[in-house]
Amino acid sequence: MTLTDHELEQAFETTIAHNDRIEPRDWMPEGYRKTLVRQVAQHAHSEIIGMQPEGAWITRAPSLRRKAILLAKVQDEAGHGLYLYSACETLGVSRGELTDMLIQGRQKYSSIFNYPTLSYADVGTIGWLVDGAAICNQVPLCRTSFGPYGRAMIRICKEESFHQRQGYELLMTMMRGTDEQRAMVQESVDRFWWPALMMFGPPDAESPNSAQSMAWGIKRNTNDELRQRFVDMSMPQAEALGVTFPDPDLRWNEERGHYDFGTPDWDEFMQVVKGDGPCNRQRIAHRKRAHEDGAWVREAATAFAAKELSA
């Protein structure tokens, strides 16, 4: 039973139109596959690179409980990266190839991780704002049209909510502590607020791939919609915490039923995206070193497995 390309394409479009899932062996347009590989890989790389800014504080965690929580959290990120690389592999690209592309700078990861972590409060702020922003982005992706991606996202979202909660809880605890700790929290929030807003990507008008991704059901909401949702969600949380966001234009708009807010520094965003953020080189160099340092181990296991088979 051979179907023509036209029939295959129609079947694909029908599946999408019915909000059904595309599965790995289904026919799919090359553009759909490429877009997915790019998005899922970028997402996977973000998890893996995201281990670094927080991982840097595992050895300096201020209590044993926090150390355990942070280590478990960073470990989760390795797991998330692993699920997503697996989803990407169903599209015909191996983890090794994806890692090479990351190391060679041919694929990107979330620009937020090119900002430094400078105090322990950053662990809390990343959990609250960065993971919070990620959840805004990711929850709709549980219904993304590509099955393996959606299923990976369900697992990830379940674990991410633990991440956001631990971050917020750390900040709440610190706010009940000393003046120095409160100042540390506010300073950290001031530093991460704008980069967190940038996590949703450029404004819709300047987001070249968004429309097609929406049509294909790969993306479910526009950048600006998600950014607004994030601001609306974060404001009451900030009030409950007792911190402010560094934006004089931030206020409730009765008419819109949403918060108005200022414009992120999109020039800085482009700088970071183009590789000149505070930590871009450091992050890639770290990943490259770990990957290269591990080569002999991976080779040894492969050789051992081959010997066992032939024995």
């Binding site: 179907l3 790995p24 090359e30 596959r33 015909g92 191996s94 060679q104 990976a152 697992r155």
Partner: protein, 98 residues
Amino acid sequence: MSEEPQAEWPLYEVFVRGKRGLNHVHVGSLHAADDEMAVRHARDVYTRRNEGVSIWVVRAEAITASSPDEKDPFFAPSGDKVYRHPTFYAIPDDVPHM
């Protein structure tokens, strides 16, 4: 700079029985050099070594899938690569709670 594929561990599919009375369900995949390492990794990655959980692992390339009305144009040219596997493909539609 493609020294990599040589050392890349093969892909395994992981199936977990969450508790007695349930089917093994596909939960995802991972890389391992051999079967034993795959089980070990599966415990670490997918169950965090929860006791009382039963895990099956199988080399992705060993899975034969039915594909009634599918055409595999994207995978055809590279039949020997690991990505020909049907990861996440055969999900049972639900787990019977009987």
